[in-house]
Subunit: 120 residues, 4 copies
DNA sequence: GTGGTCTAGACCACA
DNA sequence: GTGGTCTAGACCACG
């Protein structure tokens, strides 16, 4: 697994997102064992506690489950992972629109702005 | 001046943005005196310290200036305010794209998604 | 607030339960500010991190909410706190029955046993 | 022997309990040879180490004894097994009461609650 | 001072 | 070795 973490932003949600993404993309199969907390932490260059917290969050979300002394596993139903990703995209888009709305841009203006983004 | 503050998010930048926006929209004219820190704080329902810090930030940005014992005034050149707003929009858009890129959406997919946003 | 913590068991859920109970019993009113994380930790004799984690859990449960730089507050709707307590009682009872079922006691035997408990 | 193990909970004590129960119910007679550790592990779907530890615990409790190179046997006096079960029931009941006491239910309330449990 | 986040390191039960 | 939990201490943005 490849990690691209922005140390300036909270690491925990970033880890959650990327694990979620890996599962949704089929990099980890349902029921498969994840890398251990320590191994993941080493790999991602963060503290094991941070990974632990991220995995616990994913457990709440129904994406991973843990077996004490054995490791972390991907839940059989990976639809939750995909759903979580979809929600993330929707949330971020909604936040984006509402932020620009607050700067006096209406939805049409935002869409026009986005359409022409990065197209020079 | 009307305030719409989200208490769940940092207040200081929100105040900066809205003051900046008011100026850019011409609600305050160049050289005009702002409401006092205390009055603004009361009006916005926040701690005067927070308004103070926001105004100081806007001074750094070249949008406001303070006159000791007299109050805060809008700079003559309001292009800085408009520029700041433009930068904000660009920053937020860039962050939005990069966040969705990280979720494995390429720019085209994002634009398509935005185009169809909230259009049902 | 009075704390009775069993150091042999996970502290975090114990803190959650007791805060929840305090709110449900009306010791803290809706909207009221809680003691700070540090103060609570000192008071309960645990590490601030543990309290932080407990409060975050209660935030997820819709019982508390935090305002950065200001503190933790009781949500307006304390029905969630009561509901959480009811669920706890039900969970523990269910676990108790199922544990004794596994030891070959049927529900009637359990009820009889409980009825005569501690009555010498 | 039939196994009903909850993988989410520690396996070792579960195995102890169920072996103990089997003996108390007469499924294994005093002096009778148990299935081998390896066979039991296979049967229960757990790691042989876990069964080994469980049997060692039961040896300490005076319920099983091992004969080197031969296997594990049920002790002649199965009263220990029954006693262990009784203790388990008492322990669990005590824990149940004390957990609900902590949630501000007195013993009478608990008994009433249990009496009406699952009777709809 | 307050919450939010992270690092470091420790101990335990379990496999 | 693995997860689970806790302590200790640090830095940051915010009020």
């Amino acid at each position: 697994m490849k990690w691209t973490l922005d140390k300036a932003k909270p690491l925990c949600p970033q880890i959650c997102e990327q694990v979620c993404l890996s599962i949704a993309l089929g990099e980890f199969k349902p029921g498969e064992k994840m890398f251990s907390v320590r191994e993941t932490a080493l790999n991602a260059g963060v503290n094991p506690n941070t990974v632990q917290k991220a995995f616990e969050q994913l457990e709440i979300d129904g994406i991973l489950y843990s077996v004490r002394g054995s490791g972390w596993f991907v839940c059989e139903d990976i639809s939750k992972a995909k759903e979580t990703l979809d929600n993330l995209v929707a949330e971020k888009t909604e936040a984006f629109f509402s932020a620009l709305n607050a700067l006096s841009m209406d939805n049409e203006a935002i869409k026009k702005y986005v359409k022409e983004w990065d197209n020079e």
